[in-house]
Amino acid sequence: MKMKIGFEVHEQLATKRKLCCDCPTDYREAPPNTNVCPICTAMPGAKPMPPNVRAVDAVIELALMLGCDVVVDKPIYIQRKHYDYPDLPAGYQHSSTPIGINGELVGVRIREVHLEEDPGAYDPVAGTVDFNRCGIPLVEIVTEPDMHSPEEARRFLRQLMLVLDYSGKVRPEPGTLRADTNISLEGGTRVEIKNINSTKGAYRAVKFEVMRQKALIERGAVIPYETRAYLESQMITVPMRMKVVDFHVILDPDIFPIVIDRARVETIRKRMVEAPHQREQRLAKQYQISQAVAGVIVSERELANLFEAVAKEVDPKLVATWFQTNLKKVLNYMKLRATEVKFTHKQLAGLLRMVKAKRITPEQGELVLRKLVKQPAEPEELIRKLGLERLEKADLRAAVVRTIEENPKAVMDYRAGRKEALNFLAGKVMKFTRGRADPREILKFLRAKLKEKKKRRVSRRTKRSK
């Protein structure tokens, strides 16, 4: 069944104070209604302070990252959007006219990007409101209905979250996403869903809604235009029974319009962060690595930064392979994000140089990497501490000879055709050399030695029989 899905996504912008007052924006530890003042609680007569310029700049930057045209040399108005809801102390929400228009992200058109204010936190079940977050600047991103399945919707949201995360312009704490989605099935009506707070939630809400609407259409029922709420706990949507509201939009007489000139846009463009989807393309091209690997590398901004720093010093292809496999593996295992990594790019580059020069084996490299992540130090030092300096060939040969001599049964087994005996012997050599030897070398030496002795014995036997 054909369907169209669009989003309105809101994220809090990372500013120190709110959009139109001096209250702090970090409310997570704060008891209810402590980060508030007469302005953000809409006390009678309180007037907004002039808007926080960092919030406006952040929206411009995000618009650029999403490939939008920034509205320049034309007034951008701060409007009042009126509706009656407990989380909205003034009875209206500040919402700017578009700052960015006509963008695109992974094939989904971005209709507009603009600035808004966060309402308070309303607990619809308890019937309580906390205004701590009320007045925090938000970016609102509105897409065209260009997604055609719940999976596409999820993919877009993930990518969008990545862009926002990359930008460093939104609050870093998880759980600040607020999305509304609209879904219409072929032969149906557009339905809006509010109260979505995560990518997972969006996926489930869309999935549920598609099923619900499909069932209705199949039964021949008419889908009414309505606004529904997603109930996270039950993973269903329910009608909000809202009257069709006219927002009575007026320009806020309290806040003068903003005019952005080209110079401001260019300044921001110069210092702006490269969007992950753009960076992915560039990395693949610049470092001659596959799109898939580049995709893994850009999955975190810090990871990509680290990659580029290391790739300047060591063969980029080796670095890419390491990032995709070893580093990702270690980080995942330790449940770390790239931002939390403490070692320097120099240390990692040093380690990879040694791998490249075959001074240590890849396995040893990973061992060092694990240490590096736990407790950053110079790789040389770690290798010494771990006793991982590579064995001289003679020492390895000696160890192999000794192992063969000390394990006649295994040798016999091997010669009798039990291949797994070779692994046993290799393990013994490994133990003997305290893991300093490259397993591939061990096997090579072992095989050669075992063959050699066999030959000699055979020749002896031949002699006797003669």
Binding site: P38, A42, G45, A46, K47, P48, P50, P86, D254
Partner: protein, 456 residues
């Protein structure tokens, strides 16, 4: 009313009259008269203590502010921390202000003693003082008549000598109208000159806080105390601070005073007679009187009401009864409800262009016409209210009531300043001359007003 503001201030500074005595006198007078006048809704229980603090400062020879020891009344739509800003409405009957308006901060810093909160038309919706939920205010100058509004209690308090100075608010004429009817001095400052933070909105793009005073000196003193840039407000003008009270006596020779034939078209002849007399006096004092064109003056009223209603609807959405007070639609009077309904209708998406946008075009027109007229003259003088105040309790239709604002609302649309001073009386009823000045032309307006005052 006793001595003038300057003399009173001198007496306090020189120790002839203590601030405490001054406050006590005000409280006595209120106690004596306010049952009848109803100029106050609430009194400040700390007024005497605040006065004592000023007296201690004076005794120790410490520096005190411009308003040291003067008694101040505050219109009930301005936030004074700890007092109720009711807007004379049941909606905010129990709303105790949790913060000070910026002007209140300035008045306190200047040593003014707030004696109480003045009665007013409910949410400033009215031009007669009759829409207050706490009962109508009397006109002390002509008992039995309306004092005008919406700063009814403020003008009446001054007229009855209940306090030295008042802060009122003017949206479409709410300072000037009652000043005219009560025979006191009132100023509507240029839009943005006086910080608005803490003023409970009627229509935020027109609302202005301004002084009501028994004399021009008092008005000038209060204005220079509260005027000046507030960087925390977008719409606050970034203008240099001005001193008005020092330059009042310069006289008006060479001042060009404009009049318009429109005024006599719109105002009753009884009113015009007094106004013409005052214009003649200005001429005698050395001013050059010139006729100016204000071709669309009468068109401003409806535009004003459209814009005001749209902004009022928006501003009242916060009165949902959840955070404080009661839901406005459930407890407000008819006039407030009517304006909310008007605003609701006007700012609907499908109606927006037909009413609201059109009214905003008329605002442009008014700005243009006054701008052109004031290019030719320093001030324009004329009547303040077209009619004399009606008897309390007379039933007027909304349209008749709105017509009181014919001559004051154009100034609000134009964004300029205007002052009102008593020009004389018509059958014993005060008639105020409206002196309309350029943007930030308060100094000139006050000079003209002072010249007329001194000539009495």
């Amino acid at each position: 009313m006793g001595r003038g503001t300057l003399e009173k201030l001198k007496a306090i500074l020189q120790g002839e009259l203590s601030a405490t005595e001054n406050v006590q006198q005000a409280l006595n007078r209120i106690k004596e008269l306010d049952k009848k006048i109803k100029a106050f809704i609430e009194l400040n229980p700390n007024a005497l203590a605040e006065a004592e603090a000023i007296d201690r400062k004076l005794k120790r020879g410490e520096r005190v502010g411009k308003l040291a020891g003067l008694t101040i009344g505050i219109k009930s739509n301005i936030n004074v921390k700890g007092l109720r800003a009711t807007c004379a409405s049941r909606t905010l009957e129990n709303y105790v202000s949790p913060y000070d308006a910026e002007v209140i901060r300035r008045v306190r810093e200047a040593g003014g003693i707030i004696v109480g909160m003045n009665n007013m038309d409910e949410f400033a919706c009215g031009s007669s003082g009759e829409t207050s939920a706490f009962g109508p205010t009397e006109n002390p100058a002509v008992l039995g008549r309306i004092p005008g509004g919406s700063s009814s209690g403020s003008a009446a308090a001054i007229a009855a000598g209940m306090c030295d100075l008042c802060l009122g608010t003017d949206t479409g004429g709410a300072i000037r109208n009652p000043a005219s009817h009560c025979g006191v001095v009132g100023i509507r400052p240029t839009q943005g000159l006086v910080p608005a933070h803490g003023l409970i909105e009627l229509a935020v793009s027109f609302d202005q806080i301004g002084p009501l005073a028994p004399d021009v000196y008092g008005a000038a003193l209060m204005l220079e105390t509260i005027a000046g840039h507030n960087p925390n407000e977008c719409t606050s003008l970034d203008s240099p601070s001005a001193n008005y009270s020092d330059k009042l006596g310069i006289g008006i020779e060479n001042i060009r005073v404009g009049t318009s034939p429109k005024f006599s078209e719109l105002a009753d002849s009884a009113v015009m007679e007094v106004i013409d007399g005052a214009v003649e006096k200005l001429h005698d004092l050395g001013a050059e009187v010139v006729e100016v064109e204000l071709p669309n003056l009468e068109k401003s009223l409806s535009a004003y009401y459209v814009i005001m209603s749209a902004e009022f609807f928006s501003a009242t959405r916060k009165f949902d009864g959840r955070k404080y007070g009661r839901r406005i639609e459930e407890v407000c009077g008819d006039e407030v409800l009517r304006r909310i309904k008007c605003g609701d209708y006007i700012s609907r998406k499908d109606q927006h262009d037909r009413y609201y946008k059109r009214a905003l075009q008329v605002r442009t027109l008014m700005r243009r016409e006054f701008g052109e007229a004031l290019n030719k003259v320093d001030v324009i003088v004329g009547p303040t209210v077209p009619k004399l105040p009606h008897k309390l309790g007379t039933k007027l239709s909304p349209a008749e009531m709105y017509a009181y604002d014919y001559l004051t609302s154009p100034i609000s649309l134009a964004g300029i300043c205007a002052g009102v001073i008593k020009a004389g009386e018509a059958s014993g009823i005060p008639v105020g001359l409206q002196v309309q000045g350029k943007v930030l032309g308060e100094g000139t307006v006050l000079r003209v007003m002072r010249a007329l005052e001194a000539a009495k």
